[in-house]
Symmetry: C2
Subunit: 262 residues, 2 copies
Amino acid sequence: MTDEADDIAATAREAADAARAETLPRFRTRDLGADNKLEGGFDPVTEADRAAERAIRAVLARRRPDDAIVGEEYGPTPGRSGLTWVLDPVDGTRAFISGIPSWGTLIGVTGADGMPIHGLVDQPWTGERFEGGRGPARLTSPRGETPLGVRGTTALADATLMTTFPELGGPGEAEAFRRVSARARLTRYGLDCYAYALLAAGHVDLVIESGLQAYDIVAPMAVILAAGGIVTAWDGGPAQGGGRVIAAATPELHRAAMELLA
Amino acid sequence: MTDEADDIAATAREAADAARAETLPRFRTRDLGADNKLEGGFDPVTEADRAAERAIRAVLARRRPDDAIVGEEYGPTPGRSGLTWVLDPVDGTRAFISGIPSWGTLIGVTGADGMPIHGLVDQPWTGERFEGGRGPARLTSPRGETPLGVRGTTALADATLMTTFPELGGPGEAEAFRRVSARARLTRYGLDCYAYALLAAGHVDLVIESGLQAYDIVAPMAVILAAGGIVTAWDGGPAQGGGRVIAAATPELHRAAMELLA
């Protein structure tokens, strides 16, 4: 890696450490003070989300003042380097307030062309940190450090499929998802960003979601690409802007799922 | 606790340790050798399931030779003490083979009247062990030991609801579940026995499932009862035989959910 790539990776790690210090002490405490962001529904945000994003931004302001930032809680901050940090301080706030350790801190970086060049998915409670950029992808955890790599499943009939919500977006999207699910060996639900991490680590084969924002996908996408997988929109277009996203372990699975989603 | 209750609790712990030695080294390994138990579907069982149940049975044969056993993998073994050990060596085999740490080893004990008198839910990878019997319920983990207790949510509009499968049993059951889900603040999916553990620990408020076997519910039920919660069938009848089960943090939530399920 270049010095620049090293600095980006080190900055992401320092920012994730700073976010952990805000999220972990609040996880599984009884009064999380969840506020609702969605009129007529429930889209929770907690002080953990806000404090973690502030902590990440403080690290970036010191180490990478010329880079732009897009964060879920505090919006866009312009830059002049061409690089943009794309942040979701707590992806899976619903899991966070339910005591479920599938939430994570997402820290991604895009280049001038908008493509993800580095990503970090951090699960503070299990201590797992999934990283990927121009070099190899790796998982560091209390169990040690291991390389990440997707597994080689090529047939849908052998594939494990994941999605966060059982009801994806509109009726057409749900129907499309069910067409893939009906052909997969196994479908599992509800894991937020942890599903992408499991794909990069070779435990599951496909993740299909819709309604994503850029901050939901840039970091996981960088990790999965570095682990040898594929991430696109359902129609094969770019995924880094969010929307309808398919992540696959192999080109064969990606093609088979895309055909059923179309 | 009496000496007998102490011995039951200590035996359950020793059996869970023995099961951990079989499950944990196999978790997240690449070739799990999952066999399919279900013609026309996918109901996986692995060597981890079988080896863990054998390990538990070996402990029981030595320490509790007069007690009966019912296990998922090796069926019933008669006894003459009136006590029955009810075992699911790996509850959540689908999660196990997908790298998701929501599976668990369930070790329950019923008395002569069939009521659960002791239960243990063990998640070896996170190191969490949830226990409950005639004394207080507790969680032991690498983070220390803490008492378990349900939280005091009384209104469905404030409740977090969990279920393992998004599509419960038949269409009527799914429709009944959706009536509750539509009124709950938040619904989360896919956590197997870990959902019951989160209820006992006060992080979620309701778990609703169907199609359960006795070995799926006896151990979690004992933990939840000891933590102050309620576990019945959807119609308010006994839950320890499995079938359609509702677990609730408070009588108010239990009643509200039962009315919508009816």
